[in-house]
């Protein structure tokens, strides 16, 4: 186990809105080592994107980090001033965002947008930066790279644009790459290509990858460790292998169950998770998943369960965890 690159502890983020305070992230802790791929899985609104934005200090205007630490390179990212954070952004920690159409500036050429981080962080001049830009574009698989530098974002297809975004993110050889729903806005066939690309690139460079997504399939193929997030907290963390074969948290179980299976019988019912996501306008005072949970017990309604290790490397936040073989039984036996 290598020394972690980034260690986050008890991160809390809140937003001020006209309807009151939104408790978006309520005490999460995780770390990520060089070269490791960590997946953060959860539904929309669970706070996973907010986490990464908070680390880089680019939250929306009304967002505030209200607690926790994030140690990176011996410094707490959450306490750094913007001027100091700026030197880390793009250079040591880079991000790839969800929608490549809107994440690229429509009035600037791709070349310009690639050169920007190189010029700012490495002080390269235009020709040096251009050469490096061509290299990067080739590495992400864009043909005729040299000519393409002068093109604008709207002249690329969705998949191509995401490749460009990845190229931009990797331009300064960051230690950590955060990919926030990198394939959600893309066609299914392209998704696989982009994920493959990401996998190759980070392993070549020994870059740590934090993959944020709601798609279990993406996580299964890419990540060594997985954290399942709900209502601003981690519900279950562990290796991908453990979580996918023996999920212990009812939410994780629910997520796995809700994926329709191609090999299911025609009469097999779909199993959605009942109810809707928790209202985040109040701090959690009970298990946030309790209202939707089949396994809830009385204690679930009285306090927030702590995150506890249920076996080495596998933690669960639950007063009544699912039996270890439950998922296997269901999967092999058919409907629950």
């Amino acid at each position: 186990m290598r020394t972690p690159l980034l260690t986050v502890e008890d991160l809390e983020v809140r937003f001020g809105t006209s309807r009151g305070l939104v408790y978006a992230v309520n005490g999460i802790s995780f770390d990520i080592a060089p070269g490791e791929t960590l997946g953060i899985v959860g539904e929309s609104g669970c706070g996973k994107s907010v986490t990464s934005l908070a680390l880089l200090g680019i939250l929306a205007r009304n967002g505030r980090v209200t607690g926790g630490t994030a140690m990176f390179g011996g410094r707490d990212l959450l306490k750094l001033k913007d001027e100091q954070l700026r030197l880390i952004r793009g250079r040591e920690i880079a991000m790839v965002f969800q929608d490549p159409m809107t994440s690229l500036n429509p009035v600037l050429t791709i070349g310009k947008q690639l050169r920007e981080p190189l010029q700012v962080h490495f002080g390269m001049d235009k020709s040096q930066a251009d050469r490096r830009a061509v290299e990067l574009l080739e590495q992400v698989g864009i043909p005729s790279a040299k000519q393409r530098l002068r093109d604008y974002p709207h002249q690329f297809s969705g998949g191509m644009r995401q490749r460009v975004m990845i190229a931009i993110a990797l331009a300064c050889e960051p230690k950590l790459l955060i990919a926030d729903e990198p394939t959600t806005a893309l066609d299914v066939t392209i998704q696989a290509q982009i994920l493959e690309l990401l996998k190759t690139l980070v392993s070549e460079r020994d870059t740590a990858l934090m993959l944020i997504t709601h798609d279990l399939g993406v996580v299964a193929g890419m990540c060594e460790r997985v954290n399942v997030m709900y209502a601003g907290m981690f519900m279950e963390t562990g290796s991908a292998a453990a979580l996918f074969s023996q999920p212990r948290h009812p939410y994780t179980l629910g997520l796995l169950q809700s994926v329709p299976r191609l090999d299911a019988g025609r009469r097999q019912k779909l199993m959605p998770i009942p109810g809707s996501p928790r209202n985040m306008l109040s701090p959690p005072g009970e298990c946030p998943f309790a209202p939707r949970c089949r396994y809830e017990v009385e204690q679930s309604r009285q306090q927030v369960p702590p995150l506890e290790e249920i076996e080495p490397g596998h933690q669960v936040r639950c007063f009544n965890p699912v039996p270890a073989d439950e998922w296997q039984r269901e999967r092999l036996g058919g409907a629950a």
């Binding site: 809105t17 929306a60 009304n62 009942p274 109810g275 809707s276 209202n279 209202p291 939707r292």
Partner: protein
Amino acid sequence: MSIAELESREIQLERPQGLWSEAWQRLRRNRGAIIGFGLVGTFVLVAIFAPLLAPYGPREQNLSLVREGCCPGPSADYWFGVDALGRDEFSRILYGARYSLLIGVVSVAVGLTFGLILGAVAGFFGGIIDGVIMRLMDIMLAIPGFLLAIGIVAMLGPGIWQIMIAVGVVNIPIFARLLRGAVLAQRENDFVLAARAVGVPRRTILGSHILPNSISPLIVQGTLALATAIIDVAGLGYLGLGPQDPATPEWGTMLTDTIRYLQTAPHLAIIPGIAIVLAVLGFNLIGDGLREALDPKLRGRA
């Protein structure tokens, strides 16, 4: 536990309300809009109750006051001073509200009605009809509004009704464009397609489905058009194109020729101008408030 029971235990964020009551809530919290309503409310009340509030008649002359030249400023007897013919400014301002209000409302009504019809027809029927109508609107918009109004008044001759028509006509292309845009946007909406699939006649679709949804931008634009109408009318009055009887207490006309007296009687120029500004400001505040209340997306996000 059944899904139905689980669903019923959901925590609701808040009870959703209709579009209008939500908008009303937002409007009520908007300080600017409240001030606007206050100003416009005062304006309307003054217009209605002018005869009761004014100490003198608007055309009542007392030439002895200006025998020594123009013009006495504000005093205890004459709160806003006296004009070149010995008339009480205060009373004239009060009566002037009637003219501004009347002319403003009528012109906007004219523009709205014709603009609405043209725009709805163009948007709904499309094709050549749309093309012709819109070309015509473009040509009208090719001349800056105020100049177009001057042109129309030149054609019709000066006078109150003439400026009402002129300013009204200037408003037509604006409303036509607005409504056409709204109709076009709605036309492809699913609920319209659904109505057609069931066989609802086009006329009814237009009246019962499309128009009600296009109302919000209309309300906003209507209020703002009122503000502009009052300014334009004052401008035409200032140029001498308004009521031809110089005794008429129209605010714009009251400003004509006051430049000569800036040195000796500045109140003659300042007071009617401030009245205009306050009335227009009131409508602008309301219009802005309405715009924000009916579509909060327009505001910069927090």
